[in-house]
């Protein structure tokens, strides 16, 4: 909460204070006040629940950060002069309830001056539990309608079986698909979490990203464990 207040204050003050030096000081102030910023807060109880909580928190933070290094083609991200409030970024999580808590704690954050709306989508299993008569086709139809508004779609491990269909639904749509399902990237997903040496990393399928008209920052590409590129179609480290 405090962090967000400060961030708002920072933004509002940045327009008011014309003096560069003061602005620099404010930057410094911000820097220090944000000492208890995103990552540390997320990592705060990493010591207690290393395997679970830390991993989910980290994933949530990664999801946010991915959105910062990716540009969507709708291009409405920048606030125009119409005076209307900017459209929110929609972050969809499909069938992974463990991310609910860490993501909700980030709900008030903005990305590129746009608010973030987190949308949790029930997995087919959950839907079936509620409604036995639900079919996969209906579910997928519903899902197709739902994910149109999503900018990022995290596919939980629960949907591993319907991965191909889900990838197909999001194919050539400006939806950044992320998952920790193995071979997700090679199957056509954009970003796949991998764990290397106990450290969480990610692969990027640049081809599918380009097919979705998503522009991924070169910096993000630099960080990637593997990048699937068009020419070679082979992953490069």
């Amino acid at each position: 909460m405090i962090r967000i207040d400060n961030a708002k204050k920072n933004n509002s003050n940045a327009d008011v204070v014309p003096v560069v030096r003061q602005r620099i000081q404010l930057y410094a102030l911000t820097f220090f006040l944000s000492a208890g910023s995103l990552l540390p807060s997320l990592l705060a109880d990493a010591d207690n629940d290393k395997n679970l909580t830390t991993a989910y928190q980290l994933k949530a933070a990664f999801l946010y950060n991915f959105m910062k290094f990716v540009e969507w083609p709708d291009n409405s991200s920048r606030s125009d002069n119409s005076g209307q409030p900017p459209k929110p970024f929609v972050l969809c999580v499909l069938g992974e309830d463990s991310l609910k808590a860490p993501l909700n704690s980030l709900a008030d954050k903005t990305i590129k001056d746009r608010p973030v709306k987190v949308l949790f989508i029930d997995s087919f299993e959950t839907v079936k539990k509620k409604n036995r008569e639900a079919t996969v086709e209906d579910y997928l139809d519903q899902l197709q309608k739902t994910i149109v508004s999503c900018h990022l779609l995290f596919v939980g491990a629960a949907e591993k079986e319907r991965l191909a269909e889900i990838l197909k639904l999001s194919e050539k749509k400006p939806i950044l698909t992320v998952s920790d399902i193995s071979n997700f990237a090679s199957l056509g997903g954009v970003i796949e979490f991998v764990t290397e040496n106990n450290k969480m990393r990610f692969d990027i399928n640049l081809i599918s990203a380009e097919a979705k008209a998503l522009k991924i920052s070169s910096q993000l590409l630099q960080l990637a464990h593997k990048v699937y590129k068009k020419e070679t179609a082979r992953p490069t480290p």
Binding site: A7, N10, N11, R21, I24, Q25, Y27, A28, T30, F31, F32, S34, A35, G36, S37, L38, L39, P40, L43, F62, N65, K68, F69, I111, K112, D113, S217, Q219, L220, Q222, L223
Partner: protein, 669 residues
Amino acid sequence: MKWINNLTIRRKLLAVLMSICLVVLLLSGGAMIAWNQYAFRQNMIKDIVMQTQIAADNCKAAVAFEDTQIAAGLLESFQARPSVLYVVIQTPARPEFARYVRKNTRPAIHDHSAVEGWSFVGDELVVRKNIVLDGEVIGRLMLCSDLQPLKANLRRNIMIVIGVIGFGLVIGYVLSSWLQRLISQPILALTNIARDVTYRKDYSVRAVKYYNDEVGVLIDTFNQMLGQIQKEMTDRMQAEAELRKHRDHLEEMINDRTRELKLSNQRLKMSVERANLMAKQATQANRAKSEFLANMSHEIRTPMNAILGFGELLREEPLSDDQANYVETILSSGRNLLQIINDILDFSKIEAGKLSTEQIDFSLIPMLEELESLFRPMCSQKNLDFDVIYGSELPDMMRTDPVRLRQCLVNLVNNAIKFTEQGHVYLHVTLETINQTSYVRFDVEDTGIGIPKDKQLLVFEAFTQADGSHTRKYGGTGLGLTITRQLVELLGGRISLYSEPGRGTVFTIQLPLGTEAQRHTAPSPHGSLDTVPSEGNQALIPLKGNILVAEDARANQTLIRIMLQKMGLEVTIVEDGQKAVEEMGHGRYDLILMDMQMPVMNGYDATRQIKAMGIQTPVIALTAHAMKGDEEKCRQAGCDGYLTKPIDRAKLESVLRTYLCPVSSPGTT
């Protein structure tokens, strides 16, 4: 800086130009270096800040995803920049998220918490940049660079500037050496010409004018000056030539003059010698003259003594009228002769400055009465009226030399009588006061022939009469008035005359009264031995006594013997002083009459010896020396009285009476 004043103009110009050159080069070089260094520094800062910014941007993702390896890898790219000492990425969680350090260095990491931006810390430039992701500060990148490029740039610039200055100085030297000729060349040429003129005295050379600048004007002026000097030198040479000619001539003239001068000098020397000789001769002659006059005085008076003495004796004998007349003629002629001789003696004494006067108080009236009785018979003989007219306030006494006053008055009255044929001769005596001083005024008035105006001043000159013919007609030496004038002046008075030819003359003597007017004061008997005493008691008491007379002249012996015997005195006569002394040794005498000039022993020595023997007998000196000092000389020798020759019988009797009748004569010791 004094040494610079003595440099040649060439060097001065060179120095000026070169120093300007050097200053300009140094200033421009310094400015260039400063500006370049500043620009370089700004560029370097800008560059490094930009590098930092780029690095900060580049590592956004790495920081965001906490990928330290990638971040370190990114920082490795600073290897291409050797001036970068280290780069550090800090995040809130990790103070050293990633870092790059230049090989082989262990730099001290600066404080990362300082203000964002750049700053110089010692020799290092530290740039701090926040890593901002989507408006959120997620970390900070700090870059530290040394200033090697700046220093290297400075060194390079200095080297370039030194090179440029060196090259510029060389070019400047070449240019100034060439340019200074524009100024120094004409001046040096002018200097050389001036030196030539000074050493060779050649005023015909002219300096060459190069340009129309100030030096050109100087050269023109110099040339004009040379022209003037040349002209003046020519004039001077001519003048000198003339001068030399004159000088040669002058030398000749000087030689001539010197020769003449020598000659005249010799002449002068001879003249001086001659003059000295003559002066010596003149002195000798003067002494001879004085001796001659003294001798004359004595030698003439001695016979005159006899003539007048015997004349007077003869007159008292019973004679016939004719005989008596002859005797009177002899006496008056003798007296005249004596007067003339006295005049001549007086004159010579006055001329020699030897006449001295005395100042004594005496009674004026008796003297005037005596004069009246003296002249009245003479005037009546010529049928002239003579009278002494007394002024109302005439004092009894006056102080002057009575002998000389009487002489003056006698001279004037004699003169008046001499030149007056008919009418009168009056003597007016009055007292007058001029300027609070009392004068006694004597006017001798006659009705004689008078003196023409043009001769009036001459009559007081020696040997002069108003008309040369008068000497023949009236006789006289012409000395009377001259002596009178000189005597009056000696007595402190003055003499003047007023005359109208044919009507008469008035001679006036004014003498200072010299004393307060007093009445009833008797004259001192000692003070005026020559004064004629009153004749009242002359024959009353017959004289008695034994008189010793020392006299060498036989005529005088006889005369004195007769005179004394007639007075009833006993007389013993000796021929010289020696005998007088011997006689006094064994005879009793009441009085001695001592002639002063005698053979064997003179009167002075004799008197001295007699007095030395303790004899109190009065000694009366008899002398023909009518000079003033004589009386004093006699008194010093011991004489009690003094009589002059020729012996006046009345005087002799008066003196004798004084000493032989002590009862009747007061004041005698």
